[in-house]
Each structure stands twice: as C-alpha cells, then as structure tokens.
C-alpha cells in the first residue's frame, strides 16, 4: 500500500534527501545507534546532540518535565566535547550515507571565535551539514545572552564559522531563537553573514513552578518549552524567516507531533521539518508514524511532492481580498 503513496523525497541545500523529516538536535543525538534508529524510522537527516569545545556534564535533574502543554527542558548542553563527537559523527556518516540520510553536526561555544575553533575541529569529521546553535536558552549562567538575541552577534558567529569551514564545502545552518522581537531581522543578519540555511526555531524560555514547595521544578530553574505549545510560535517564526529570506532553505522545527503538523510547517515556509519532543508525545515510533501520516495526507489531498506543499502559506489567497469590514462597536 505504501508503494502507492507519494514520494516524500525533498531537496535541501542541493542535496536530495529521502524524507523531509529531520531529527532535531538534543533528541536521541547522543549515540550512533540512536541516530540510526531515527533514520530507520524515516528521517531524511539526523542532527547529533550539540557539542562544545570541552566536555560538559549539563544540569542536574529534573532536567526535563511534561507540564501539560508540552515539555520544559534544561539539559544544559550535556556533551562529551568536540574531540569525542568527531568519532561519533564519522561513524554516523559511514552508516547513514549508504541510505542517503544526511548527518548534521551541531555545535555551541561561548564566543564567536570559539565557535570558529569548534567548527574547524568538527569539520574534520566531514558532516553533511553544520548547525550552529546560537540559541540555547538554558546556559545563560555559563555563556550569557544567546547570540541569536542580537543581529550583530548572530552575524559575527556565522561569519567566524563560515571562515573556519571555508573551502570544505560544509553548508552552515544557523539555529534561531523564538524570543526576539523580529526573527526575520536575525535571519537576514545570519544569511548576509553567509549562513547557507536556517533552523527555526529553538525552544521558547519558560518556567514551571511546584506550588507545594514554591520552587521551580527544573534544577536550572527555567528551561525551554517544546512540544505542542511551541507549534504556533514556531509556525510564525518560520513564516517570518521565509518572508525575510525568500531563497534560504529552512529547517522548520517546533511542536510537530503528527503528519498534518509537518504539512503546516512546510506550508509556513520550511524546506524540511524538524521533529523532537514528539518522540515523547507520540511514543518511540513517533517518527515512523509522522512519516506515514505525512504521505497519507499528501495522497488524500492529491499532493504529488513535498515541493507542492512548501511555502503555500505565502501564496495568493483563494479569493480576492475580502471587502468585508467588521461592524463598528456600538455606543451602548
């Protein structure tokens, strides 16, 4: 039956991927086996957990909780450091390349030049793409305000990373933050500084309190909101980034829990679609299910290819601009 469903392959950064689903950074990205598991379930690209210049233990528990409308996490960029990550990426690439699935490295650092240094080192693993995480909301104590909060800082980091990997043909993806007045402005700054693609968006800062103790639940106090609550915020960020950067590929990430969510993300302007917290919301087969639902939705709506869904929300509306105006508020 699945043979009759539309082909979900998609072109991202001049690369043909078997599926528009991308395993988001921070989810399952800790080992090669888990990256492979995501690929087995229908991801066209998988993102390894963000790594930094040195190993980092991350925050103590609770580091991730379900508060009702989604998740709140502050793992705190736990990672084995860039040197260890190189081995993981090399092995992941060796295992996933034969099936056409791309491996995305993700990096973070404390300064623009340190970003360049980590990028130079990680490039030796030849990941297919390099995502720069300038928007983690949970490490302000260590690194200060995220670079994604400011166009100049976002551009400076992007420039350093581009320079570091110049000549190695590794496209650079800049991961944006949702909590800025204008996502479009930051997106443009990154693209002008050389970003090949954008990832919109990271988690949204939030706080969950325990009313019995009066204390924040997460050890880091605040965390990043993901899951269903993030979806409309992510759709707006992707929509704005697409408007601001009409020709830049975008990984649309945030609250995608089923096939229809993925369709909406593509329509908002995503080139491909990141999935993460759904593995909790939908269970361990989430990626497989979303992949199937997306193809079923396309078949039911007579949509032949992913390209037919992309950017639809930016097309002309079905009808001419409505002449209706709401009635004026009455006097009484």
């Amino acid at each position: 039956m699945s043979e009759d469903l539309p082909n979900p392959s998609v072109t991202f950064l001049d690369r043909e991927l078997p599926s528009p689903l991308v395993l988001a950074s921070g989810i399952w990205g800790t080992t090669v086996s888990l990256l492979e598991r995501a690929a087995d379930q229908g991801c066209g690209a998988v993102t390894a957990k963000s790594c930094g210049p040195e190993p980092r233990a991350g925050h103590v528990n609770p580091s991730c909780i379900d508060w009702g409308g989604g998740l709140l996490n502050a793992i705190g960029l736990a990672n084995p450091g860039v040197d260890e990550e190189i081995g993981l990426l090399r092995e992941a690439k060796a295992r996933l390349q034969p099936r056409g699935v791309a491996v995305i490295a993700s990096i973070f650092a404390g300064t623009a030049s340190e970003f360049g240094d980590v990028a130079r080192r990680i490039a030796s693993a030849s990941p297919d793409f390099l995502e720069i995480n300038i928007s983690c909301p949970n490490v302000e104590d260590s690194f200060g305000e995220p670079f994604a909060a400011n166009p100049d800082a976002a551009a400076a980091v992007t420039g350093c990373v581009k320079q570091a990997v110049a000549g190695q043909a590794i496209p650079v993806i800049v991961k944006l933050a949702p909590n800025v007045p204008s996502v479009g402005r930051i997106a443009q700054a990154a693209v002008h500084a050389g970003a090949d693609a954008l990832c919109a968006i990271n988690t949204m800062p939030g706080l969950v309190l325990d009313p019995y103790s009066g204390q924040p639940v997460l050890a880091n106090r605040s965390g990043g909101i993901s899951g269903p609550a993030l979806k409309p915020i992510a759709l707006k960020a992707v929509y704005d980034a697409r408007k601001a950067c009409p020709h830049t590929p975008i990984i649309g990430t945030g609250g995608v829990s089923d096939g229809q969510d993925a369709v909406e993300m593509l329509m908002a302007g995503a080139t491909v679609v990141g999935v993460g917290s759904a593995i909790y919301q939908r269970g361990p087969d989430a990626l497989r299910n979303i992949h199937a639902e997306l193809r079923q939705w396309m078949a039911a709506q007579n949509i032949a290819s992913i390209a037919d869904l992309q950017d639809r929300a930016h097309s002309e509306p079905l009808y001419a601009t409505s002449p209706s105006i709401p009635p004026a508020p009455s006097a009484h």
Binding site: G26, I27, W28, G29, T30, T31, S33, L34, E36, R37, K49, G58, V60, N61, P62, S63, C64, I65, D66, W67, G68, L71, N73, I75, A78, V208, D210, Y212, S213, Q215, P216, V217, A219, G276, S277, I279, Y280, R282, G283, P284
Partner: protein
C-alpha cells in the same frame, strides 16, 4: 498519569512531580532502607518512578511495590544520604511510573529471578505477582558480602507463603566472599540451576556485568530472558538519549529489555 495496560512504554502524559508523605522507613542493612510512601500507582513490576527533593536533585527508583509505593534506597551519594535522614510524614515528590515492566509470556512456566546487590528491588513484587501463574520459581540473590545481601527475609517469607497453595519457590543466596550462602556469583548458582533443572524464563536485575553474563548463559541454554538495566535517567521520558544502551533508550524502551524471546505475544501480568 497513564500507562498502557500491556506493560509497554507510556504514550501519554506522565506529568509533574507531586509530594506524598513517607509512611514508614525500614532499615535493611548498613546502607539500605526501604521507604513506603502514601501513594498508590497503577504500575507493574519492573517500572520505575522519579523521586525529587526540590532544588536538590531527582533520581530514578525501581518500584518495590506500587500500592503503596515502596522504594529501596541505598545511600550512595548526597541525594540518597538526604533521603536516609527523612522519616514518616516527610514529603517526597514523585512522578511516574515510567518505562517497561517484566511481562509474563504464558502460564505454567518455570522462572528464575536473579538479583545482584540492590537489583533485587523489583524482584520480590515480581515473584509475588507471578507466582500463582508459574509452575515453579527459583530466586537467586547475590551480593559482595553477607552485610550487602538484601531482602533475603522477605523472600523467605514469600517462600513460606508459597508453600500453600503449593507453588515451589526455591530461594538461593551467594556472596563473593562466602560470608553467607554459597561462595561465588549469582551466575555460578544460575549455571548450576540451569544444568540441573528446567527453566523457561530468566528475569534479572543488577549490575551491567552481571546482566551481560546472564544474557550469555540464557543464550547458551536457549532460554528467553528479561533483563532490567540500571542507567542514569536524565529526562526519564525517552528523548534525551542519556540512558542509551545498544540503540535502546532505557527509560522508555526499558528498563526491562527482552532477549531471545520465542513466544510471539507476551501477555501482561
């Protein structure tokens, strides 16, 4: 809180931690106590909960029982030391149950339950829950020294209880230094047991080395096994990847993983 009745991993909301008072604390040995909490959960043997002390830390604990929630706590660090200083009436914040349970594949089987160190935690409840459906059971409890052996009295009590209505329950103990039971490892006892009698299923919980050895033994004798793996649970809901083991996330796919299963459909207890 929701858990699928088939004993497989959750697919719904497991919510925020909430405080429940400690009902009683029993001292098991020089560093282990068993806490009973004023909370009942719809859970199965093998599943775990996260216990939180606000702004201090949160740790995973295998359920010794679910009604009321009972946890075995060995003092090995700051969190468990702080817990050991608590008593009846003090609140402990709990969320869960998480993860997979042991799953009884059929009735009339002979099972071996093997616990190393504080790995015995889920096995008493498991043996209690399954015993009426088993043809017979062997419990093997091991530790480094006599002082480290846990729940031997509780298993002996279960053994007496099991005499009527007549399901044979054998309880064997061993220590590495020979200070109690036979001298050696649980795998030595298990190996003897597998050679001398029929066993249809191995259920075990303990250190990784012990479980790996039991897996090899089971493989050698062609016996299905359900192994409960210990890991540092970070998110506890299957997404962060901290507790990965050979492609499985132990907080969601596990902690109980099945190996060498021949039956097509395991039935819930």
């Amino acid at each position: 809180m929701r858990i699928l009745s088939d004993g497989c991993a959750h697919s719904g909301s497991l919510g925020l931690p909430a405080p429940f008072p400690i009902l009683s604390v029993e001292t098991d040995n020089y560093r282990t106590k068993t806490f009973t909490i004023d909370l009942s959960l719809d859970a199965l043997p093998g599943q775990f909960v996260m216990a939180w002390l606000p702004r201090f830390d949160e740790k995973p604990f295998s359920l010794v029982a679910a009604d009321p929630v009972t946890l075995m706590v060995t003092a090995v660090g700051p969190f468990t030391n702080l817990l050991h200083a608590m008593g009846p009436g003090d609140p402990l914040w709990i969320r869960g149950p998480f993860g997979t349970s042991f799953r009884l594949p059929g009735s009339g089987l002979r099972a071996a339950f093997v616990g190393g160190g504080y790995g015995v935690a889920p096995l008493l409840w498991l043996a209690q829950t399954w015993r009426r459906q088993l043809e017979g059971a062997t419990v093997i409890i091991g530790a480094g020294t006599a002082a480290d052996l846990l729940y031997v009295d509780r298993f002996n009590a279960l053994q007496k209880e099991a005499m009527s209505p007549g399901v044979p329950l054998e309880v064997l103990t061993c220590t590495e230094d020979g200070s109690a039971g036979s001298t050696g490892l649980v795998t030595d006892l298990l190996s003897d047991s597998l050679r001398s009698g029929e066993t249809d299923l191995l259920c075990a919980c303990g250190p990784h080395g012990m479980l790996a050895a039991i897996d090899s033994l089971g493989d050698e004798h062609n016996i299905p096994r359900q192994l409960s793996w210990e890991a540092y649970m970070r998110c506890a809901i299957g997404i962060c990847g901290s507790c990965e083991l050979n492609g499985s996330v132990l907080c969601l796919d596990g902690p109980v993983l099945e190996y060498g299963r021949t039956e097509q459909d395991a039935q819930p207890v």
